[in-house]
Amino acid sequence: MYLYDDFDRTLVAERVAEFRDQVRRRLSGELSEDEFKLLRLMNGVYLQLHAYMLRIAIPYGTLSSRQLRTLAHVARRYDRNYGHFTTRQNIQFNWIKLEELPDAMADLARAGLHGMQTSGNCVRNITTDQWAAVAPDEIEDPRIWAEILRQHLTLHPEFSFLPRKFKIAVTAAAHDRAAVRVHDIGLRLHRNGAGEVGFEVVVGGGLGRTPFVGKTIKPFLPKRDLLSYVEAILRVYNQFGRRDNIYKARIKILVHDLGAEAFAKEVEAEWQPIRDGALALDPAVIAEVAARFRYPDYAELDDSPPELAQARATDRRFANWLGNSVANHKVAGYAIVTLSLKPEGGPPGDATAEQMDAIADLADRYSFGEIRVGHEQNLALPHVEQRELPALWRALDRIGVATPNVGLVSDIISCPGLDYCSLANTRSIPVAQELTRRFRDLDLARELGRLHINISGCINACGHHHVGHIGLLGVEKNGEEYFQVTIGGRADENAELGTLIGPAVPYAEVADVVEDIVAAYLELRDRPNEIFLDTVKRVGVEPFKERVYAAR
């Protein structure tokens, strides 16, 4: 966990007091909606179809049990008893009253939580690998760098009115679980030929209306230069990014229009004069931030304890969950446990207040009081003793978060869609719910292997449809809901955008279409362990297209 200091606490408390006054002035009529809208958005407050929505940042996806209990309290006291975990390590509450928002924010602030920079044209919540500091394939804790960036870019006056929103993600693992190549800036910690650790800097990735996989403009950036180089990128973007057209305002358009090489030259020119100035990171500063991350006092344990083998041998449901939802930990005797927020028929990413409280209790008992939030809209307990897994599984099963479908066909990423969102064209949650029912057979899901379905209810792509193995994009045609279908997308270290397979299909046929695609895959794959993506790569989209449209 990261320990916030008095500066952090004062900053957040002052912001709550400021917002309380802004709400008072709005409700009394001193501020018009035009004046107030910008102020509320700076605190993560949107006005959606039915109510105000509050988006709260979960920096680098790490929550303490106390913070999760606070989220449960906010859900219960100010909302309708649940929250929605998003694709950017945030949580959203959908039914909060403006009149009560200052009190909700004050309660959140006491636990070190806030909505600053979760909206508006600024640097948003900086995300990272939900398995940070515990993944065996990681070279160091990426959250330290996310935190250094967070401190520098929070309320940064030069970057509070960028041409458009700006998203940064950091990973330090070989396998990219943070989708860094589809962010405005993606940072990948890696080791160079000399054995030094630094960053590959990827710029101009993004989804939305005009999707791009980011381009590497700096294969190796020394750690000391992180702030100055990111500052240089933001300055170039701030100066040259388009402000005349909201659809062309993201940095990806600038990088595309200039070309990655020319963009990199602009950054280089901006960077050289500031490189050795105040932004050069002093090792003492890095060490100070790193020291505020507290790591568990792990016991000395062996892998594969007998209790685990026994439970696996005697309980098939436990064995299935173990094989699906439990990952190797970098420390012997421990495991990383993913909690599926994708139960059959449930809205992806939603958790009730009771579930949040129960998970907080389980985190205290089994995971050093720590919970992680991943961009796939699931949670994780990052430090679980392997010998405790059977007991933990029983507890998770009782509260409905042990569906062994992590990474499988029913582990669907979905935006809130037209059931909540004022931007959406179509519903997306009911599509996800129907698909979880169609693919309720977990034996079939395991047989299918890794297969990610991502659903967006509009072109803004909050459901990351472009990088779904199967991507579904809702579009409206003459007042009716339709879905465009793409296949072959992926968000990992080999990120690719999916390929459209043909004309949009009616809402009522979407689940049938996905079943057709899955059936085609089962027929086309050349061996049982050839995953869907590899089959698409090998045979192309045509056979899938034929299968889907021949019958329609």
Binding site: Q48, T352, A353, D419, G479
Partner: protein
């Protein structure tokens, strides 16, 4: 952003003016007597561009009552009942089409 009053209205059927209530964001509709109601049945239904423009102007001027006023289509039943004119408005009127998960006791 263009003000709703500057947007060219083209009315081809019955419409109402709708917005979100300032204090809690609830969906509200403009009434004939210049108030807001949460009941679509009590909304002022107009069918001409001048009437819609006038209704919208009054709604936009009431910045303290509701936020983001705009003209939305409705359908009229044979018995005179007012129904939302498209899916978006139907969802705003009736709420999400899914069961909400926050029932105590999971």
């Amino acid at each position: 952003m263009t003000s709703p009053l500057e947007q060219k209205l083209r009315i081809t059927g019955p419409v109402v003016v709708t917005a979100n209530r300032l204090g809690d964001g609830a969906v509200v509709y403009r009434t004939l007597d210049g108030h807001w109601t949460t009941h679509l049945a009590q909304a002022a239904v107009v069918t001409t561009t001048p009437a819609a423009s006038e209704l919208l102007a009054g709604a936009v001027a009431d910045d303290l009552g509701a936020v983001g006023a705009y003209v939305a289509p409705v359908r009229l039943d044979k018995d005179g009942g007012v129904q939302p004119g498209n899916l978006r408005e139907a969802i705003r009127h009736r709420g999400p089409t899914i069961d909400l998960p926050g029932i105590p006791g999971f």
